[in-house]
Amino acid sequence: MAELCDLTGHELAEAYRTGEATPTEAWQSCLRRIQAVDGRVGAFLLVTEDEAGKQASRAEDRLSRNAASPATGIPVALKDVLCTKGIRSTAGSKILEPYVPPYDCTPWTRLRGDGAVLVGKTNCDEFAMGSSTENSAFWPVHNPWNLDTVPGGSSGGSGAAVAAGEAVWALGTDTGGSVRQPAALCGVVGLKPTYGRISRYGLIAFASSLDHIGTFTRDVRDAATLLGAVAGHDPCDATSLPDPVPDYGDRLESGVRGLRVGVIEDWLTMEGVQTGVRDSVQEAVSRLEALGASVDAASLPHADYALSAYYLIAPAECSSNLARYDGVRYGFRAPGGSDVVDMNMRTRGAGFGDEVKRRIMLGTYSLSAGYYDAYYGQAQKVRTLVIRDYQAAFERFDVLVGPTSPTTAFRLGEKTGDPLAMYLSDIFTIPSDLSGTPAISIPCGVASDGLPVGFQVMGRLLDEATILRTAFALEQDLALDLRPPLLDSLGV
């Protein structure tokens, strides 16, 4: 029998209902898996054993009172940019190493209220800036599919934890692709909903007009369930959308017959797209066609410029958001400052890592007097063009599809010396962060290098239901067996 930690959330919920398993057993199964693999994977910055034990008991109370929700008793991991009351939350940064938040982020408040169990806080690129999780100030994460490769980033710890059975669900954040790209590279499902669909209250901010919270699960049904559990209006976040949250599981099984699917052709033919990625994505497209979808070529003509716009907008917003780390109110303070400005500069110089400093510098420069119009102003116009591209494409198509990332997982250290090459791994995920439209990555195969390939489905604003339905149909048809080889080699 499979270990409980390898089940999906809906399988666990069913096992709880029939009395075959308990939340305590499921959480302890995750804990054993963490003990077996995390020394090699490095997905967790903190394992919250005491809290988890209490939460699992409370989940059992709820189950015995027949008051369970789909999240009750499910072992969940949270990316360490999400604040948890009384539990250290570092954002993967030395500057927040001592930080213990006095409040919970809203998504965790909701999951906790539903009886979910917090397994721990996951490793990530510092302040969610990166595409490989090598920018963590603590240690890099290794992809459970091949420990010499990266799990993607910035939510690499969340992706690796769900892939390796260290957690059943995880939350991450997606500013330029940081949920979908690691989901693709780790062979799991990553959903980035519409901008504002999940409250960001209690999220340690990176780039506020682009930051989205998203989900990591092992199948599409769980993605629908987890989204439903955390989505919805929150008066504590002025950007959160007031629109009602539908039952995302409702139309999951309605199939794709007649669905108009646009394939972003440029993303298959572009230089730098790995053959194995192209082949798996094309195979997935033909499966959709065989299932009754009408497939045609689509384009997002300004997507080429999206990366450039993103690397002006995101650093500009980060330079402003990260101004709060001044060594005064929380976190690390460097010793020996002669006056307050000297203390600020020493604290930030010693507390931030390389990539964070690079982006603060980039953002500060592009917002500084004389350069604003040429850089930030122009980038905001490109953002308009990208949004118009999506609007035009969604007049002809119900969903747009393509690869999530141009390559499978790359080797640790391969791109750390060349920031621009690293930035290019987000080329297919950035456009829907700029437009705020929802997108999901699901596994669509394993390439000849033995690493999983991600298939991206993008939808209209607030139309998560249609991308979930498309992804579900494809997932059922492909019926992939995705178990990282590490688990068998360790005999767990």
Partner: protein, 96 residues
């Protein structure tokens, strides 16, 4: 051509103390990244309005109700240095 930037000036604006090695590296890397990013100017015509948020919302207010907030003790609990119930920082004004 890579863009030339005044690293010392930008680091001062950003309140970052950088080593000589970092300054040299960022000068080089930022120049290359900005050269790539400058491409935004190729397509952004005069008549295209800028977008700051993907889903614009304005005048978002919550109801004006009294609610509990962080206690002074909680708010100060994470500070590096505290004195008399306040955040403590090195001197701000020049000593005369």
């Amino acid at each position: 051509m890579p863009v030339e930037i005044d690293v010392d000036h930008v680091a001062r604006l950003a309140r970052l103390s950088l080593t000589i090695e970092e300054k040299e590296r960022f000068r080089r890397q930022l120049g290359v990244i900005l050269e790539h990013a400058e491409r935004v100017g190729e397509v952004a015509a005069e008549d295209i309005p800028p977008t700051s948020h993907p889903i614009p919302r304005s005048n978002v207010f919550r109801s004006d109700e009294l609610r509990p907030c962080l206690t002074r003790e909680d708010a100060l609990a994470t500070a590096p240095e505290v004195e008399d119930g306040r955040f403590k920082v090195p001197r701000i004004v020049e000593q005369g």
